[in-house]
């Protein structure tokens, strides 16, 4: 409340200060007799207000340059609300502002490769290892895992039934030509999906038909589209749990070992991009894999359900 008052106060002071300046400027342009002034005054007030608004809002542009890092992460971690929960804890501890740019895993690694982020926090182990091998990142640390679930309409048009076999389910979907929404955006989820088609013995590039819809967007959009179309889609469980527009979608398949989804975090290589804030970035990574950070991850729950399972200490994760 107090803060708001002072803003208004400042605003009126700025207008009062600017007004004579604008008045003088206007007079130079248009030497009119003062009495004409009532409407001129209104105009001047308007312009003063506009100028004041821009000036006052300028602090919004002030950079928290010193203590902040940019983390390229995935839409699934953002849409599940994990960052909203974790980052305030991290900031309270270290004072570091973490700015998360949420993109698909492929795009996040691209961003890291361009040097536009300090840390990459994604979930496609093959892409991550390639990223490090090519020198774009320093070292990959496993952080946490969750699992994927296949969701679909309650009416189950593909006749999947109660199977726990993801490969069988996918085969059934293809056989029946039931609508399926794919992220199609080189995200971790997309990469996992492609891997699962392969495991089902389906060459999806060749065998896709109009039933297979590639939307090139994030997890939330995919779920929205599936809900609207009555289609199946592969989702990470965390986004699914926190998604608020399920419609009549339900989990069709879960628990298959192949639906395991591992997250890793990597510092962008400062040798390649000197602008990378390596100390602050490393602090973030260290905290994530520390017992404290791991506990925080485990503590994040929606409706009593834990969404992510920390496993930084598990070898080979």
């Amino acid at each position: 409340m107090q803060k708001r008052l002072s803003t208004l106060h400042a605003l009126s002071l700025v207008i009062a200060g600017l007004d004579p300046a604008i008045h003088r400027f206007a007079k130079k342009m248009d030497p009119r007799v003062k009495p004409g002034g009532d409407k001129g005054k209104l105009t001047r007030r308007m312009f003063s207000f506009l100028a004041a608004a821009v000036l006052l809002l300028a602090p919004v542009f002030a950079h928290a340059q010193d203590k902040s890092i940019v983390v390229a992460s995935t839409t699934s971690t953002q849409d599940s609300g994990l960052f909203g929960y974790l980052l305030p804890i991290f900031k309270a501890k270290t004072g570091i502002d973490v700015k998360v740019v949420a993109q698909g895993t492929g795009q996040a690694i691209d961003t890291a490769n361009r040097g536009d982020a300090d840390v990459a926090f994604v979930h496609a182990k093959s892409l991550e290892e390639k990223f490090v091998a090519e020198g774009g990142g320093v070292k990959r640390f496993p952080v946490m895992y969750n699992d994927f679930v296949l969701v679909g309409p309650k009416s189950d048009p593909a006749g999947i039934g109660r199977t726990k076999d993801i490969a069988a389910a996918l085969t059934a979907i293809k056989a029946k030509g039931a609508p399926f929404v794919s992220r199609g955006d080189r995200s971790g989820t997309h990469v996992a999906e492609l891997g699962l088609w392969k495991a089902a013995g389906v060459d999806i590039e060749k065998d896709k038909g109009p039933w297979y819809k590639e939307i090139g967007q994030g997890m939330g959009a995919a779920l929205n589209t599936s809900s609207g179309l009555g289609a199946y889609t592969l989702s990470d469980r965390s986004t699914w749990i926190s998604f608020k527009n399920k419609g009549d979608l339900v989990i069709a398949v879960e628990g298959d070992k192949r639906l395991f989804n591992q997250y890793g975090v990597i510092l962008v290589n400062p040798a390649k991009h000197p602008n990378v804030k390596k100390e602050l970035g490393q602090q973030f990574i260290d905290w994530l894999i520390s017992p404290e950070g791991q506990k925080a991850i485990a503590d994040y729950k929606i409706e009593g359900q834990q969404l992510f399972f920390p496993n930084a200490t598990v070898p080979g994760a």
Binding site: D30, P31, R32, V33, P35, G36
Partner: protein, 243 residues
């Protein structure tokens, strides 16, 4: 009220075989005239005679296609002591006083003197009561008077007027003509076009009859109206149409 005038370096205005051609049309055809200090010169003639173009040439807004046009002996220079009132004057989006103040500023009148001059000019054209009114909301006659005041803000030695009363009712016409007479009385050379014979009779010192871009006759008013030398002049003075 005194208007101190500087020496009239723009007079006499001499046209020596001046023509103005636009595209393939000759609007002003081989005109030779002289404008000297004194009583108003009235340009008369039917529509399309070239009166407006001639005034724009005299004001220096356009250059002749052929011939020489000099102001006080100087050629090719925009005259500084000439002002013009157009047939349908454009009102600046300001008050009446604002328009005059703008003209005063453009004429280089020092800032401190502008307000006083503005009031004088408004009084002169009888618009003092409408000083704060937006100029575009004035009536036709009032706008014409304001345009006159704007032109006078330049403190001109020569004032051109292009059919200023063409679209005005008799009362407004009289108001304009009174101001023109007052202006001429102060020694400002007035060159005014009209196609109203009566007006020419009322105001003229000299009359110049134009027809199809040519000067048919140029004479003092008295001899023009009582003893016209050319046929066209006689017909025009008698009120006949000149084709």
């Amino acid at each position: 009220m005194n208007i101190m005038r500087a020496p009239t370096t723009d007079l006499p205005i001499l046209l020596d075989h001046v023509s103005f051609v636009a595209g393939s049309v000759t609007i002003v055809d081989n005109v030779s005239l002289a404008f000297s200090p004194g009583a108003p010169t009235i340009l008369i003639g039917p529509n399309g005679a070239g009166k407006t173009t001639l005034l724009r040439l005299l004001m220096g807004l356009i250059r002749p296609s052929r011939g020489r046009l000099t102001w006080g002996g100087r050629e090719g220079v925009t005259p500084a002591r000439c002002a013009i009132v157009f047939q349908r004057p454009a009102m600046l989006r300001r008050s009446a006083a604002g328009n005059i103040l703008y003209a005063l500023a453009a004429a280089g009148v020092p800032r401190g003197k502008r307000a006083t001059r503005c009031t004088e000019l408004l009084d002169m054209v009888g618009l003092a009561a409408l000083a704060g009114r937006p100029a575009r909301k004035l009536s036709g006659g009032e706008q014409q008077r304001l345009a006159l005041a704007r032109a006078l803000a330049k403190d001109p030695a020569v004032l051109f007027l292009d059919e200023p009363t063409a679209s005005l009712d008799p009362a407004a016409t009289k108001a304009i003509e009174d101001i023109v007479r007052a202006v001429a009385a102060r020694g400002i050379k007035v060159v005014m076009s009209t196609h109203d014979l009566g007006e020419a009779r009322r105001l003229a010192g000299d009359v110049v009859l134009l027809h199809r871009g040519c000067v048919i006759e140029s004479a003092p008013a008295l001899s023009f109206f009582t003893a016209p030398r050319t046929d066209e002049a006689r017909k025009f003075a008698a009120g006949e149409l000149l084709i």
